[in-house]
């Protein structure tokens, strides 16, 4: 969790800063726009309904996806549906990944690579 969350905090902090700043002018370079878009998606991912706490391995998978840019091409209003679909997909197709994140507590390179592959796989299905 610590590994994936470090980046999340940074993304969010930069987003807040740029958001305030960007209100003054609309001429933004590409890097800035990218950061704004990322921040918007991070905020979207962090939303969740009341009385529906999320197990830690699911949190890790979703946050991993957003901080690694896998959600940059998904429109913010579709993120909720994407997240739900993604988690269902992971439970159905790769239940062992969630298990391992839970028991090992550390996202090793090899585990991260498998997670990346799974996200790619889902994205292919989702965009179809």
């Amino acid at each position: 969790m610590k590994q994936v969350a470090g980046r999340l905090r940074l993304d969010l902090a930069q987003y807040r800063e740029l958001e305030a700043f960007s209100q003054f002018g609309s001429e933004l370079d590409q890097a800035t726009q990218k950061q704004l878009a990322r921040g918007e998606r991070v905020v979207e991912v962090l939303k969740q309904p009341q009385y529906l706490p999320m197990p830690v391995e699911r949190q890790v998978m979703v946050i991993f996806a957003v901080t690694n840019g896998y959600l940059d091409d998904v429109a913010p209003e579709h993120i909720k549906a994407w997240e739900q679909g993604f988690l269902d997909f992971m439970v159905a197709q790769h239940p062992e990944l969630g298990q391992e994140i839970r028991t090992r507590k550390v996202l090793a390179d090899e585990l991260a690579a498998r997670l990346r592959a799974a996200i790619d796989e889902y994205k292919k299905i989702a965009t179809r």
Partner: protein, 381 residues
């Protein structure tokens, strides 16, 4: 003539000895008894009971209804003692009898309380019959020192993405939840309790000064999510006297401590909300004629003591092969899971407190001012 009726010392001694020898002392009930001087606003002044301990439980007997009411000696003065009354003080009258119990205030604890809704003295209020437990724990104990604690190193999962990822809560930690009304302080606490399902964490939800209907809604919500299977709800509603609201966090803490110390389990204790408790304590202090802003009359003294008890103990090794000779829980803060292996009850217990309070700005500054003042006073000496 007159001299005939005077007893001679020798005779007197014989009679007394005979009396003493034949008396059956076992049948006598020898106890120290005091009388009520005055009763007001949940406080009684008592004459007698000169050997009562500070914090001792007292038993009042109403002369009107012969009802028994529990109280606690708080102020020990030269010629009387000030005691708070837990329960209906309106049945007590001047001259009523008060007895010592010889025990410092304690509450029933144990696994039988899990799934129940109780009041601040551990009496069930959910209509499911009596709680069958023989164990009790003192309500007010000294928090463990630093040597006995483990560092905070294991998270308590709240199940809320924003909290777990950016501001995680550790077992053995306390966490203050502050915010304006209606911003979701209670929601965070309830979500966290729900998320402890299957994690082996015992949750204690202490509702202080809330409407009974609000508490009933929370209990209903917990039941819906199956969270009452590992939770205790302690209610000191707004309708209850100030003394009950004042001891509620301590009582809840004692119930959680049973699981932490005796069963080595992780616990989560939520106090909702502490500003109501502070108001109740201030009221008590005023009626007891203690200055409400200083020393024992101040909520700074009382408030800190329940939060400090949150900790993860360093259990002495050799209790179980797996024991890592340490551990740590929260309450005031609170929450969840250890992500890995199923928790082994033997190797850790954590207790964490959470509290939510309505207004915190003024309180925290007051607290720090208090601390600064204490420090200054000490250095002056």
């Amino acid at each position: 003539m007159a001299t005939d009726s005077i007893l001679r010392p020798g005779e007197l001694k014989e009679i007394l000895l005979k009396e003493i020898q034949t008396a059956d002392l076992a049948e006598l009930d020898v106890r120290e008894v005091g009388t009520v001087l005055e009763v007001k606003d949940g406080i009684a002044r008592i004459y007698g009971l000169t050997s009562a301990m500070a914090g001792e439980m007292l038993e009042f007997t109403s002369s009107e209804t012969s009802e028994k009411v529990t109280g606690q000696a708080l102020n020990l003065e030269e010629d009387n003692i000030g005691a708070v009354i837990f329960g209906d003080y309106l049945v007590l009258r001047e001259g009523d009898e008060v007895r010592r119990t010889g025990r410092v205030l304690d509450v029933p604890v144990g696994p039988a309380l899990v799934g129940r809704v109780v009041d601040a003295l551990g009496r069930p209020v959910d209509g499911l019959g009596p709680v069958h437990t023989t164990q009790t724990r003192k309500v007010d104990i000294v928090a463990p020192g630093i040597i006995k604690r483990q560092p905070v190193k294991e998270p308590l999962q709240t199940g809320i993405k924003a909290i777990d990822s950016m501001i995680p809560i550790g077992r053995g930690q306390r966490e203050l939840i502050i915010g304006d009304r209606g911003t979701g302080k209670t929601a965070i606490a309830i979500d966290t309790i729900i998320n402890q399902k299957g994690e082996g964490v015992i949750c204690v939800y202490v509702a202080i000064g809330q409407k009974s209907s609000t508490v009933a809604a929370v209990v209903e919500r917990l039941k819906q999510h199956g969270a009452m299977d590992y939770s205790i709800v302690l209610v000191a509603s707004a309708a209850e006297p100030a003394p009950m609201q004042y001891i509620a966090p301590f009582a809840g803490c004692a119930m959680a401590e049973y699981f932490m110390y005796d069963e080595k389990k992780a616990t989560l204790c939520v106090y909702d909300d502490l500003s109501k408790q502070a108001a109740a304590y201030r009221q008590l202090s005023l009626v007891l004629r203690r200055p409400p802003g200083r020393g024992t009359g101040s909520i700074c003294t009382a408030g800190c003591s329940s939060g400090r008890r949150s900790c993860r103990m360093r259990w002495v090794a050799a209790r179980s092969p797996r024991s890592r000779s340490s551990r740590r829980r929260r309450v005031t803060s609170p929450r969840t899971s250890r992500p890995t292996s199923s928790p082994s009850p033997t190797d850790r217990s954590s207790s964490r407190p959470t509290c939510s309070t309505r207004t915190c700005g003024p309180r925290s500054t007051r607290e720090s001012r208090c601390r600064a003042w204490e420090g200054a006073r000490r250095s002056r000496r």
